[in-house]
């Protein structure tokens, strides 16, 4: 019982430390400019090189659970697209709320940049069908998408004028917390050579690098840090930079907890031996 009580107390102390560390550093925070890493710079450059008359597809395969990372990434990329007057389409095929959450971000930023739905961007909404649907999409976009999130036939949306197939799409940027990137590589980049960008949660970052090394993706945003790096490139601070201090504190806390836990375990083992 004593052991259980001590274990529960130590658990609660750890939880309280995490709360305190994050809350204090959020309230007393300074937006931190993060020097862009090479993968973030590569993604930025790839978007800058996209022809302005072609559409960029933001595949928002993220759910409410990964909003803390994919949300700031989506905001940073949408901000870049608005700033550079590039037209884009929001699209979802893995997580049903993805396009709606991305649309909330786009609507909020559109006011700052005086952009209009239907003219500067479109939301294709969520479509099921997984790999077979993604495979069919590059051959005839209007036939697969049919109508946007607001039930308007895509043929009537100005920004979709002239968008027929993969040749009218400059780049696909997959924003996700799942392993959905490989489908785009298999059926778009590998077959038609379409450029793919990637903005993933922290958990997926190590898996992005083999694809980046093989040239299958043009750049990577690594979780919240990637969003902060992108905001540095854009010169506009956002949630990513705002939260970097808190991110620092919790990383240091986890390292300290690992070291402390090992030190205490070592001391206990030595006591038992003597």
């Amino acid at each position: 019982m004593t052991g259980q009580g001590a274990a529960e107390r130590s658990r609660h102390i750890v939880f309280a430390l995490v709360w305190a560390g994050v809350v204090i550093t959020l309230v007393w925070s300074v937006p931190t400019r993060m020097p862009p890493s090479p993968p973030a710079q590569m993604l930025y450059d790839a978007i800058e090189k996209c022809p302005p008359d072609k559409l960029i597809v933001l595949s928002t395969s993220w759910d409410v659970g990964t909003r803390g990372e994919n949300g700031p990434q989506t905001a940073a990329i949408v901000r870049h697209l608005f700033k550079s007057n590039r037209k884009f389409a929001i699209f979802g095929w893995i997580a049903p709320p993805g396009p709606v959450l991305a649309e909330q971000i786009a609507q909020r930023l559109a006011k700052q940049y005086h952009k209009r739905y239907g003219v500067d961007w479109v939301n294709w909404g969520y479509k099921t069908g997984l790999a077979p649907m993604i495979q069919a999409l590059p051959k005839d976009v209007p036939a697969i998408i049919r109508e946007d999130l607001f039930h308007t036939p895509v043929g009537r949306i100005p920004v979709m004028k002239g968008v027929r197939d993969y040749r009218d799409i400059a780049m696909v940027i997959e924003l996700t917390g799942t392993g959905s990137l490989d489908t785009w590589i298999q059926f778009w980049q590998g077959v038609y050579g379409t450029q793919i960008g990637y903005a993933c949660t922290g958990v997926m970052v190590p898996e992005a690098f083999p694809r980046l090394d093989a040239g299958q993706i043009k750049g990577v945003l690594k979780g919240l840090v990637g969003a902060a790096e992108y905001e540095t490139l854009l010169g506009v601070p956002g949630d990513g930079q705002q939260r970097m201090t808190s991110q620092s504190v919790v990383h240091v806390l986890v390292i300290a907890l690992i070291l402390l836990g090992n030190f205490m375990a070592l001391r206990a083992r030595r006591k038992t031996k003597t």
């Binding site: 994050v22 049903p96 922290g202 997926m204 090394d213």
Partner: protein
């Protein structure tokens, strides 16, 4: 967003965080509410964005009567609940799985072959002396980790055993990177919720 919705969201957030103290009925209640809204949302959105525009509209408004076959084929899924007719649901599910399997063969060519090609890096690079040892490290890591995962034969020969052992060590670096990235990812999610509670709910501003 209207403030009353923020208040409801804050109550829901704190109710879930109550599990950190201990198991309690408030957490269980909101957990069930979440399952309900999430399931309902998926259902409504599938009708709204897939079935209505891609099935109902072509069938009823455009007169493409053959789309009723999609309904008939799709309803085979539900025969999984019938012991006598379950084979029909298997027919459909195995066909869909086989379609994806066929796509896998395509994926081998379009996805993995470029990765294999990219693995062959020059080990002797005259003008960039730091690149060569890095490429050698990549090659050694790749080969030894792959040898670690060869389970088709026993690791008897000292060369294979040594290679597999080295592969384990090399894999530790990847696992460390995965662990570090996971910590980064999960902490970001909590920071987002804390920001919601502080800035949207309590209406504090960063100092």
């Amino acid at each position: 967003m209207p403030y009353y919705i923020v208040v409801i969201g804050a109550i829901a957030t704190l109710a879930i965080y109550s599990i950190l103290y201990r198991e309690n009925p408030v957490f269980r209640f909101f957990e069930h509410v979440f399952i309900g809204v999430a399931a309902g949302y998926g259902f409504y959105l599938t009708i709204d964005t897939v079935l209505k525009p891609n099935w109902w509209t072509p069938m009823v408004e455009e007169g493409k009567w053959w789309w009723v076959l999609a309904l008939m084929v799709g309803s085979l899924f539900y025969l999984i609940y019938s012991r006598r007719l379950v084979w029909m649901s298997r027919l459909l599910m195995v066909s869909l799985m086989a379609l994806s399997a066929g796509a896998q063969f395509k994926g081998l060519a379009t996805f993995y072959v470029p990765q294999m090609v990219a693995s062959f890096k020059p080990i002797f690079v005259a003008k960039a002396p730091f690149v060569a040892p890095t490429n050698l490290l990549i090659f050694v890591t790749l080969v030894t980790v792959m040898s670690y995962f060869f389970f088709s034969f026993e690791h008897r020969h000292p060369a294979i055993r040594g290679s597999a052992k080295m592969g384990r060590w090399m894999l530790m670096v990847s696992f460390g990177a995965i662990f570090g990235s996971t910590v980064m990812g999960r902490m970001s999610l909590f920071i987002d919720r804390a920001a919601f509670l502080l800035f949207d709910f309590l209406r504090l501003s960063p100092k």
